[in-house]
């Protein structure tokens, strides 16, 4: 599929997914009701639900999906590893330990957010400090450091889960599986997504070169060390922002870039914006289903990203061969 066609199609899915998200939930609304509630200033329930709950929720889902997908694209280019995802370098592990420890101590939402942010920041600094050597064109040290740190965090997470009681465990599981019901800092997240997305698209030529091999990139005039450090921190900022918004929502960051590539687009100039759009729409869809299926109970969105994404990706993979 030509990149322009795919991008246009994805652009069209954005209003569709957002509309779907706005219409559905424990109080289903018809399209016309959504329309009136968005435009009018009536003070009925529909307007209130829409403005207070649904709109922030779908916007949070969209930006979170975009952040994760973009982070995945950048990390796959940095690590030149198709298995790279936003969580591979231990950032989510650090954030999870921070968040769960705060929950165990009975902290409120704000403290939990701060604690998870601190955990993520420590992980980012530790992995960079231990794993990155300037001038060394081998990125495996960084990858391994991240993976090892993730494993360590995994053990701490298990410990925290074991120590937790009753209701606490449920809150922790929701955080670990990803949950968009407590999203905060929406304008900041949009700012991060747009700023990093724009920079990455502008610099996409260098990403194409970098993905083709590090010596090759250096021979073609890319200052490899600086690019690697820049990519690492850009991906880290994206990931932390997404984690603060929705916990560790899996699958999006790994699979969205691959889905776009399987559809025939691999030049980063198109891969980046296409991944952001698909990641955003996809997460809105998954989150809406998480709210609908067991309504009024809300399920962790991470369940649906995998349930929806796995069959589609398996189909794309088999179609290609």
């Amino acid at each position: 599929m030509s990149p322009r066609v795919l991008f246009s199609l994805l652009l069209c899915t954005v209003p569709l997914s957002l509309g779907f998200g706005l219409m559905n939930g424990s109080l289903p609304l018809a399209p016309i009701e959504v329309w009136h509630a968005l435009l009018g200033n009536n003070e009925d329930t529909a307007t209130e639900v829409l403005w207070q709950l649904r709109l922030p929720r779908v916007l949070a889902a969209f930006v979170c999906g975009g952040l994760l997908a973009l982070s995945g694209v950048l990390l796959q280019a940095l690590l030149r590893n198709p298995l790279a995802d936003p969580y591979i370098l231990g950032i989510s592990g650090g954030a999870a330990v921070g968040a769960l420890a705060a929950m165990l101590l009975g902290a409120g939402l704000a403290t939990t957010q701060l604690s998870s942010f601190t955990g993520a920041s420590l992980a980012i600094v530790a992995v960079f400090g231990l794993g990155f050597r300037h001038g060394e064109r081998n990125i495996y040290r960084l990858l391994l450091t991240g993976v090892v740190l993730s494993a360590g965090c995994g053990a701490l997470i298990s410990l925290l889960l074991t120590l937790a009681q009753g209701e606490q465990v449920k809150g922790m599981l929701f955080w670990l599986m990803g949950d968009l019901s407590h999203s905060q800092g929406l304008p900041f997240a949009w700012f991060v997504l747009l700023a990093v997305g724009l920079c990455a698209t502008v610099l996409s030529g260098g990403l194409d070169v970098l993905a083709g091999g590090l010596d090759k990139a250096a021979a073609l005039g890319v200052a490899v060390g600086r690019w690697q450090a820049g990519l690492y921190f850009a991906a880290a900022v994206l990931t932390v922002t997404a984690l603060q918004l929705g916990g560790s929502i899996g699958f999006v960051g790994l699979m969205i870039p691959h889905a776009i590539r399987l559809l025939g687009v691999s030049a980063h100039r198109w891969l980046i914006p296409s991944s952001i759009l698909l990641g955003g729409s996809f997460l809105v869809l998954a989150d809406t289903l998480a709210r609908m299926v067991w309504s009024p109970l809300q399920l962790p969105v991470g369940i649906f990203t995998a349930l929806l994404g796995v069959p589609v990706l398996l189909w794309l993979l088999s179609r290609r061969s």
């Binding site: 030149r80 001038g135 064109r137 502008v202 610099l203 030529g205 260098g206 194409d208 070169v209 993905a211 083709g212 091999g213 590090l214 010596d215 090759k216 250096a218 021979a219 073609l220 005039g221 890319v222 200052a223 490899v224 590539r261 691999s266 030049a267 100039r269």
Partner: protein, 260 residues
Amino acid sequence: MQAFDNPVLEAHKLTVAIGGKMICRELDIVIRPGECWGVLGQNGVGKTTLLRTMAGLHTSQAGMVSWNGVALAAHARRSLAQHMGVLLQNEGGEFWGSVQEYVLLGRFPHRASLFGYDAQDEALAQQALAQMELEGLAQRPHNTLSGGERQRAAIAQALAQRAQCYLLDEPLQHLDLRHQAQTMQVFSQLKEQGCALMMVLHDTLWAQRCCDHVLLQFADGHVLHGKAQELLTRAHLEALYQCPLRELSVEGERWFVAGV
């Protein structure tokens, strides 16, 4: 014509080692425009490492490499890449796009705009594709190419770079006879246009035909370099490859064949 004779790439007292193995000690070489240097030696003797050092991709223990009289390290990577093309033996990465997009990456150091490649870049990439007979494969995904096709695409990418100096690590690997001849012809044309070349070769015949200078790397870290005609003798090559060679003379060319 004075400027034409100024050295482009020089090694000054260059000492290179890798993993504790000495590759060369206090090596001095001067490569001028229009010269073609062949690098020969046994497997594992450090030909690739020497070439990568000359390209600024490997750090030397002592001494330095200079480009136009200025140390490589003092040049920005991008400005260096506008003048120097490097063909690697192993690129260590998989390119996900089409062959055409791959070749277009050779224009990366010359890009005028951040946003993409202009018509001239496209035209030069197209020309490079044609030079390596890859027009028919232009739209194929690069990772579906065969080894030889991949090698030709890599050479086309280097050609699209329009460099004044090329460092080529085994440019003939994976190529069939026809494409070996065609590739060497392209390099000979570059040389005639005043381009400086340094290439790792395993075929002494191509070294004789195309190289005016050779650099022989011996297993003990000893290096001999000089005029090709003087160094490409049976005695030198037997010492270099540590095996008996037969010398045949075919239509005025010396062929060296291994074994008895």
